[in-house]
């Protein structure tokens, strides 16, 4: 039980570091650590498949893509444009307002029963694969189409335009 609170504290701390660090490369690295703590959360929830996918896809693929673009654009210096202090302050106030609103909503709903693992098998790869390939077969195939479209779109967008004659 205390493990959850410790890891949650680490997640919030590194998420705050992500958005308040000036250097973009440090920001990406803090976000990687945040995603690692999310992987620990998935393991605590006994969702092993999601933990592995989070580790490989988010930390391995997406974050490396971010780092790669940062290096490609040569942005690894501290001289990036920052907003004025007034706008920053207003942004923080707006985020806190959103947080307080949601917390008030939870007070109304009174959801406070302890989380119990009724069926510890549901997060395992075997069970999830059965569900994925029986009930969710069509969305699964459609997501492959989505990924193909995104790949072609990304290549077309990032390709240099040929010189106009």
């Amino acid at each position: 039980m205390t493990v959850f609170y410790f890891v949650a504290f680490l997640s919030i701390f590194f998420a705050l570091m992500t958005i308040f660090t000036k250097n973009p490369v440090h920001s990406v690295l803090y976000l990687v650590i945040t995603f690692f703590t999310f992987t620990v959360h998935y393991i605590l929830l006994n969702a092993q498949f999601l933990a592995v996918v989070n580790f490989i896809v988010y930390m391995g693929a997406i974050m490396v893509l971010f780092l790669f673009v940062l290096m490609l654009l040569n942005l690894n210096k501290d001289t990036e444009p920052m907003k004025s202090n007034l706008v920053k302050f207003m942004g923080v106030i707006a985020g806190c307002c959103l947080l307080v609103t949601f917390l008030g909503v939870y007070r109304v709903f009174e959801i406070s029963n302890p989380l119990t693992v009724n069926n510890p098998e549901i997060g395992l790869v075997k069970n999830l694969g059965k569900v994925l390939f029986n009930e969710f077969l069509l969305p699964f195939e459609l997501s492959s189409l989505l990924l193909l479209t995104a790949m072609i779109g990304a290549i077309l967008l990032a390709k240099k335009e040929p010189k106009q004659i």
């Binding site: 959850f4 896809v57 971010f66 673009v69 706008v87 959103l98 989380l115 069970n127």
Partner: protein, 109 residues
């Protein structure tokens, strides 16, 4: 594995709700206070992850694995979104030589 499940017992679902809301609010703050487009996309990833964790927590709570399948689809969607978004950022950088979001105000009324 039993010890891990034992660790989980006793954490109320409302604490998961509060934790994920805090992470989501941090993501919103990141979108509002930064000007670097890449950092803004990273904040969006943070928000997606908060929602993912909450879906997984409720899926475990209800003993229904549909929520975890949904998280899987959200991850596929996030990968596609990041690929296209970073390609757009590279194209914008090539045209304006900066990743400042205020350099994209040409469409403003």
């Amino acid at each position: 594995m039993e010890t891990v499940v034992q660790q989980l017992q006793g954490v109320p679902i409302s604490h998961y709700l509060i934790f994920c809301t805090i992470i989501f609010a941090i993501g919103v703050m990141g979108v509002l206070i930064r000007r670097n487009v890449i950092i803004i996309m990273m904040s969006i990833e943070l928000m997606l992850n908060a929602v993912n964790l909450l879906l997984a927590a409720f899926s475990v709570q209800h003993g229904d694995s549909s929520g975890q399948v949904f998280v899987f689809f959200i991850m596929a969607l996030a990968a596609a979104e990041v690929a296209v978004g970073l390609a757009i950022i590279i194209m914008v950088y090539r045209n304006t030589k900066s990743v400042d979001i205020d350099s994209l105000n040409k469409l403003r009324w």
